[in-house]
Symmetry: C2
Subunit: 560 residues, 2 copies
């Protein structure tokens, strides 16, 4: 089955833009430029699908085309299962993907059902029709590093004058050098695979490469001293690079790693081998490979701990390198440096900030460029946001429908309007006034401030120990439904696998109408607001502070 992506332009197949938006977003998720394997309906992240089968896909499209403005379509694990009369302030589509009763909530039972065509893995934005390609990774890395900078050097201009050291320039990790330089900083990245390095240099994600650590350190120091953005890849094993830094008494300001340490056989490379040699070893003697790989990882983590000791701000970037050496090499102190979520993302979540994104249904890049301007007009004081928008405008190629992602939060203005609502209301006006040629959909990642329970990632090490409490995402979905989001979805298992997380998403269609303005104002208050109250309840000062500043009701606190 060949697939062409979303319809574009201002003519619609459905009875209204809310339904049309759902239809285009579903199709956009399956655009060959967006999806990893559109033939098999796989969007990204392993087997994250947009629909259960092509029959189900056809039936969803058929339903959306016929759906009235006061009707709601139900999608159960990628299959349309019902259609009921609701009202125009209610969602047009409700989605639940891959949810299982707790005791059966695991891959094994999931796969049994999947084999019979009874369920579908929705990942996060795959089954909720909100994936927009790789822009989100670059932006997430940019935000994480920006937050690290803010925490460490509150008065600094981003990462300017600082040096960040990391490893791994793969699918996700490759975004690191660019995310550092976008924040004005300097990056040294260790990568064993030359081809990966060359690819990053071709696409301008990384500036230079070297095989010589001394050269890398010298050039990095120079750029940092001048306050210039700079990035250099070192063609070497990350463990060796870090040990080399210790020997040379070089301590970076920030230290992390995105080698694929989560997989000691297929992902991580042992020291002492070229890539080709290591690949051969993996074939010939996988057991020996694993031992060598874990030995290197142990040295790698030890070097991170030593550099931390000497002053480098060190964190894990979700590759489980701490867990690996704790489990397989009994390094009980591996967790002495934190994960990126508790360290850098959670403070943002406390303020309702998260990866907010929007898509131009027209298909016209000019519409997104107009939204880029709107961001700059609305938030002139947010320098690093403006920087992101400028750089994204320059560097990010659109995939499928033109889209943009940035992090906005709660933080109300004088009139009590949140950042997210303010932006959405403005875009709605631009659509109404014809400055944007067709409606814009605003949505987000499931990884957001108040929308996810995921003890291995987003809710790792919550202050009050409520990492696994899933009442929050459920309330988030119900509340956004009550507030009038146009699509609401609840998924199990995104990011970390079936049974390990529960999370939600929503879409609001900005078609220029008063109804859209009403919905946008409400949803973009309730949705980031859930982030504030969830973290306030867990006792985070930043959240309690945000609640006070932005007048968010925290009932038990208010009644004290």
């Amino acid at each position: 089955r060949r697939y062409q992506g979303a319809p574009t332009g201002t003519d619609i197949e459905c009875k209204g833009w809310r339904q049309e938006a759902a239809l285009r977003m579903l199709n956009n998720n399956l655009d060959p430029d967006v999806a990893e394997d559109p033939e098999n309906l796989v969007v990204y992240g392993g087997t994250g699908r947009a629909a259960r089968s092509w029959d189900a896909y056809d039936a969803i499209l058929g339903e959306l085309r016929e759906l009235d403005d006061d009707e709601t379509l139900l999608v159960q694990s990628g299959k349309p299962v019902g259609r009921f009369t609701t009202h125009e302030r209610a969602p047009r589509v409700l989605i639940a993907n891959s949810n299982l009763v707790g005791k059966w909530d695991n891959w094994e039972h999931f796969h049994e059902l999947e084999a019979e065509g009874k369920i579908m893995y929705g990942q996060m934005t795959a089954g909720s029709w909100a994936y927009i390609g790789t822009q989100g990774i670059l932006q997430g890395t940019y935000e994480t590093l920006a937050e690290a900078g803010r925490q460490q050097f509150p008065d600094n201009d981003g990462l300017r004058g600082t040096i960040t050291v990391t490893g791994g320039l793969g699918g996700m990790g490759g975004a690191q050098p660019l995310a550092v330089t976008m924040n004005h900083g300097v990056c040294i990245a260790a990568e064993v695979n030359e081809h990966r390095i060359d690819r990053r240099i071709e696409t301008r994600y990384c500036m230079e490469r070297t095989d010589d650590l001394d050269e890398a350190i010298e050039k990095a120091r120079e750029a940092a001293e001048k306050g210039e953005p700079y990035s250099i890849a070192v063609h070497a094993n990350a463990a060796d690079v870090l040990e080399g830094m210790l020997e040379r008494d070089f301590v970076p300001n920030f230290l992390t790693d995105q080698t694929s340490a989560h997989d000691e056989l297929e992902g991580y490379y042992p020291s002492g081998y070229t890539v080709e040699e290591a690949d051969r070893l993996r074939e010939d003697d996988p057991d020996r490979y694993v031992e060598e790989s874990l030995d290197t990882m142990q040295r790698h983590v030890q070097a991170m701990l030593d550099l931390q000791e000497r002053g480098a701000v060190t964190f894990e970037y979700g590759n489980n390198i701490r867990g690996q050496v704790q489990e397989h090499r009994e390094m009980t102190n591996a967790f002495d440096f934190p994960g990126f979520v508790p360290a850098y993302i959670r403070p943002l979540f406390c303020r309702g900030k998260g990866p907010f994104r929007w898509v131009a249904l027209s298909g016209d890049p000019a519409d997104i460029h107009r939204t880029d301007e709107a961001v700059r007009e609305l938030f002139p004081e947010k320098e690093h946001l403006g920087r992101w928008i400028d750089l994204a405008h320059e560097q990010v190629e659109f995939q499928g429908l033109p889209s943009r992602v940035c992090w906005l939060g709660y933080s109300t203005d004088e009139e009590g309007i949140t950042e997210r609502a303010k932006f959405a209301l403005r875009i709605n006006e631009l659509v109404r006034d014809g400055e944007i040629s067709a409606p814009v959909v605003v949505t987000r990642d499931h990884l957001d401030a108040g929308s996810v329970a995921s003890p291995h990632r987003e809710t790792e090490a919550m202050k009050d120990g409520t990492d696994a409490v899933a009442d929050w995402p459920i309330l988030n979905a119900l509340l956004n439904c009550a507030a009038g989001a146009d699509i609401v979805s609840v998924h199990d298992g995104g990011g970390v696998g079936i049974g390990n997380s529960l999370h939600t998403n929503n879409h609001v269609v900005l078609d220029g109408s008063d109804l859209a303005a009403e919905k946008a104002r409400r949803v973009f208050t309730t949705d980031p607001g859930m982030g504030v109250i969830r973290h306030a309840d867990a006792g985070y000062e930043e959240a309690l502070d945000e609640a006070e500043q932005s007048n968010v009701a925290v009932p038990m606190r208010d009644h004290e």
Copy 2:
């Protein structure tokens, strides 16, 4: 802390009846006549609570009193955690209780969090403020037996002329003789504990008692031949009674059991001992007690299988007697008779039928009596429903706020109005016209047609193997929220324990307004409608038939 139950009358503390209804229902759940242990906020079913703590309770009340008509209160495991602006067609209260991410979704992790005050067990109607005392048990048993009768003898007048044999006259099981006679049938119930028998006779739940099986059989046969309702308790062990019947070649029409077989030590009594002797044995030698108890259970199940073989319609009534002997006595054929849900409840669920209930917020029994009349007026053709209403009117004592429960379904009339909606719309008119003195809340059990995934009970042995798929209750909650229910709740673990089920509830407040009529019409279509589509999707003919007759959209079917 002494507690008095719900406020009554027509003056309200809150800004509107929707909020007042929530306040009264919460308080009603804690009425000493309703709750098992109100001091500890425990309503029923082990530790099912209405609020997490008395502080949380106070804060909920405070919030409800201040809540505006366009605001929504969020309750997370019995604690108020947020309040947001929504709109008047949205719910006033959203509740999520005891939900945990799959991998952590078990009693152990729950109890850790509970000990720290971080979570609460909501059971089904405890944490969602919809428990109304024991009326539901009587009615559920009445419906189950009525359905058994309908299936077996479609042209018969209920159970008239038939004999039902069962065991156990405890808290739940005690409803059985009355439920049989309410259906015009004859019941023989074995019970080892004299005091339990005497209590059932005092309260007129059972007519006579005997120690002599021959007498019981003779009297039962006589009554059945005459077509007269009759019930008799046999003071004996159920296993002995069934074996006695086999010896006497007596085969009842229906056979079940509600001894507490789920607990072989504290619940079930072994044969060959009086209650006092057995109680002493339990103290002195619990291991021996368990062995004797399981031996009796094995004989008990064997006798059930033998009577089934000879023609008795046999089913388990949720006491796990089949599981016990399968596990502990390797009786591989124990599951040759079905559970009550697949046998008798599921056919009702297929048609959207479930335990629908309503509560008079006035506190005035006359209001419920007026609703009883309305049921008879609206559904004159439903004989067994009318019979229930008449008998309930006579025999059921109100606990807390006057209430009524009955099973209504989807089944639309000429105008496309479902049974549940038709009833609710009529009550709303009666409130509007002053025939009922104050608003009425309509709610239900979480055990309902389209609201629960519970592989050990409500979704046991689904036709397509989707017992554990939890997308359905999540869609149910979202959809009822979209349709405008006034309270929507999602709970984990009701009935069968944490991690074993996911289920939802909703309330609609009938205050006589047009808005209430609009909400009632929508919610009482979407809610039973979820039962129809969930079972249609699983391939049940009854559901596909109901969908066709009542014009319920089943998208993949419609597109075939």
